[in-house]
């Protein structure tokens, strides 16, 4: 997949397993100086935005879920919010809480998957979680059980863990009873303990001393650690509503990637995801997550991407305690959904997928047929920032041999939990030195 002149020194490492989705990394060194770094994404295009045209307004929650098996709820929620917005409907009260509960399940599942099975092995010197389990079975078992609690929420509320069937525009097909949710509460109390221990565990890892100056952006809400809706704010003063997104963010196509690259107009790369949420909404975390963050020595000013693993652990605590709170206060809604009558118009919706903000826009005609659809996933927003981070990392570590450099670059990429399916599984790392 590389096209270098014979004079250049190239190394191809089959790498970057443990990311969601297909890509490769390309590094070019000329005369001892770093010339170019590219994160190449080869995930074959699936054309969701194209075939959504002509579909019914009720279909995007089921259809767009299939963009990503790791974070289908994020797609379902952003799609619902956008279509409801187009139709002039706002969902609040217990139906909103139930959506939040479902989303907590996905945060727990996705973050725990990444943390225990994909990311932690990097810090402990294992190539994967199966090898890790051979030496530390209890640890991996605890992680898998925590992950399972997330999936149990998805199964009870959504019907199944991957591509839940119970989500619809306007709410749900069937809402659970208090009794349905009671066993989850029991499980979540145990999960909360495991999550607190997880924070303490990962906070003790050895972290390289690195940092970055990137602008961080996340959805913000005055009184909650945001999962759905709100305004998109950044550490450098960006503060926009969902319908202003494309006025501020431009998506470019680059030759080396099937994922589009997003930049902030006149500002450049930015980063979405757990670090951004923590930086901007840290004060709104629940008491358990706040305590865990503080014990771990995590500050809102944290900019070391390797320490994102601690932030993810804190967010697992947050999602467990939030899920518990929702279940304890749950009153079954009278109707499983609000009726959503289509009308001609445009609607916008955004939510915080585990990897960061996910934006949807739909244009409907009067009968509710989709005229146009636009989706900006977190990975296309983060890809330029990941390249930026890689560039700085490689620049400072040109003395490493190709194999070591390749490995450390993979870790750098995994810090961002990129979901290349959203925007792969196979990354070739190519280092070209001339």
């Amino acid at each position: 997949m590389t096209h270098r002149s014979p004079a250049s020194r190239t190394l191809k490492v089959d790498a970057l397993a443990r990311v969601e989705g297909e890509g490769a990394m390309y590094i070019e060194v000329r005369d001892g100086r770093l010339h170019d770094v590219q994160l190449r994404i080869y995930e074959p295009p699936r054309f969701f935005e194209a075939f959504l045209r002509g579909r019914r307004y009720t279909e995007p929650p089921d259809i767009t879920a299939r963009i990503c098996g790791i974070c289908p709820v994020a797609y379902q929620m952003s799609a619902c919010l956008a279509i409801e917005d187009a139709c002039g409907v706002t969902i609040d009260g217990p139906l909103h809480d139930l959506r939040r509960l479902l989303y907590c399940g996905e945060w727990i599942e996705s973050h725990t998957l990444h943390l225990y099975l994909l990311h932690a092995p990097d810090f402990l010197g294992y190539s994967n979680a199966i090898d890790l389990a051979a030496d530390h079975r209890d640890l991996v078992t605890a992680g898998l059980d925590l992950k399972k609690v997330g999936n149990e929420i998805l199964e009870v509320v959504g019907g199944r863990a991957i591509h839940p069937v119970n989500v619809k525009v306007g709410g749900f097909y069937r809402v659970p009873t208090r009794k349905d949710l009671a066993p989850l509460a029991e499980r979540l109390r145990g999960a909360l303990d495991t999550a607190m221990n997880t924070v303490a565990w990962v906070a003790g890892f050895d972290f390289p001393e690195v940092g970055h100056e990137l602008e961080l952006a996340a959805l913000c809400h005055p009184d909650e650690y945001t999962m759905m809706g709100g305004r998109f704010r950044s550490t450098r003063g960006l503060d926009i509503a969902a319908d202003e997104f494309t006025d501020h963010v431009i998506e470019n196509q680059v030759e080396h990637s099937t994922a589009l690259h997003a930049h902030l107009l006149e500002r450049g790369e930015y980063l979405v995801g757990p670090m951004a949420r923590f930086a901007l909404s840290h004060a709104l975390l629940g008491p358990e997550a706040l305590a865990a963050a503080s014990d771990a020595g995590l500050e809102p000013g944290e900019r070391n991407p390797f320490r994102s693993i601690i932030v993810r652990a804190v967010e697992i605590v947050q999602a467990c305690s939030e899920a518990l709170r929702i279940i304890e206060n749950y009153e079954r809604p009278d109707a499983p959904a609000v009726e959503v009558v289509p009308r001609a118009g445009v609607g916008f919706g955004w939510t915080e997928a585990p990897r960061g903000m996910l934006w949807h826009r739909y244009e409907l005609d009067a009968e509710g047929t989709i005229v146009d659809a636009l989706i900006v996933p977190p990975t296309s927003q983060n890809q330029p920032a990941i390249e930026h981070d890689l560039y700085h990392f490689v620049e400072g570590h040109l003395d490493l041999d190709d194999i070591e450099l390749g490995l450390r670059c993979e870790q750098t990429i995994r810090n961002y939990d990129p979901c290349i399916s959203c925007a792969t599984h196979f990354l070739d790392v190519t280092v070209s030195r001339t």
Binding site: R46, D62, N128, R137, L144, H163
Partner: protein, 273 residues
């Protein structure tokens, strides 16, 4: 080809997981077997499974069982699937993408250039085939596991069966049968909700009807699906012709039973006058 594992075999059977065009949901199903994953990893060697970090021999070995996720959509995939087949004693497709082309097969009804132009400003950089096709269109497949996504118990059954040289116990009947086995009240009879259950392959345990929703066909057509017959039922319960077409042309649109629906009109997503 001989069955991969016998009781006499010293070596654990080698299993590989491959990805083509997909959402990763079906292979994630293996990682979602939280209670069974470590046991599975002891009984079989997860020799190549990138999502779990098992790089092993880089996909360059020989495998007793290959699980293939995703559909064929790029020129490179055409060669890669042949290579996967050569390396595999048994090859099982997992999910609607691999077994029927997936939702991305909606491109098959239009000119792909048109789709490229909607998503990409510079379509010339993108390498893609005209059609998204099932794995069985390209190589011999030993078994197709259905679902978008697959069911985890069915996945465990398939792994156990193929690594022990026995046929998998996966019933070919419809969701309708599962629904009755589960003791559900029929959503169509009781609430008039249109449902694809009568023509949809079993495997999910009749999930949607359990959630008071009509089946939307994510497991694809059952073995004896009477698609024209169910269309009559759907119409009777309030769906118009356009809605029925959309329902048939979703996650399993390119399956042989559905791709020509409706028999006369060529464009599945065409507007009603």
């Amino acid at each position: 080809m001989t069955p991969a594992s016998t009781e006499l075999a010293q070596e654990r059977p080698r299993v590989a997981v491959w990805k083509f065009s997909s959402c990763d949901g079906c292979q994630l199903t293996l990682l979602d077997c939280e209670d069974e994953l470590l046991t599975v990893a002891e009984r079989v060697e997860l020799a190549y499974f990138l999502e779990a970090g098992a790089v092993g021999d880089g996909g360059k070995g020989l495998y007793d069982l290959s699980l293939v996720e995703g559909s064929i959509t790029t020129p490179g995939d055409l060669d890669r699937i042949q290579d996967v087949r050569r390396r595999s004693t048994r090859l099982v497709t997992i999910g609607a993408c691999a077994s029927a082309g997936g939702i991305q097969a909606l491109r098959n009804f239009t000119e792909v250039e048109q789709f490229l132009g909607i998503v990409y400003a510079q379509p010339q950089f993108i390498s893609t085939l005209e059609e998204s096709t099932a794995i069985s269109d390209h190589v011999e497949v030993d078994f197709e596991l259905r679902g978008c996504p697959i069911d985890k118990n069915q996945l465990l059954e398939v792994i156990a069966a193929f690594t022990n040289g026995r046929p998998p116990a996966i019933p070919g009947h419809s969701v309708c049968v599962e629904c009755k086995l589960r003791g559900n009240v029929c959503v169509t009879v009781a609430q008039g909700v249109p449902c694809l259950g009568p023509v949809t392959h079993a495997g999910c345990g009749a999930l949607c009807p359990t959630y008071h929703r009509g089946c939307y066909g994510c497991f694809g057509p059952s073995e004896t699906a009477n698609v024209a017959g169910v269309a009559v039922e759907l119409r009777r319960h309030g769906m118009d012709e356009h809605e029925i077409e959309l329902a048939m042309h979703t996650f399993n649109t390119w399956s042989p039973e559905l791709r020509d629906y409706p028999p006369s009109a060529p464009t599945p997503t065409g507007e009603q006058p």
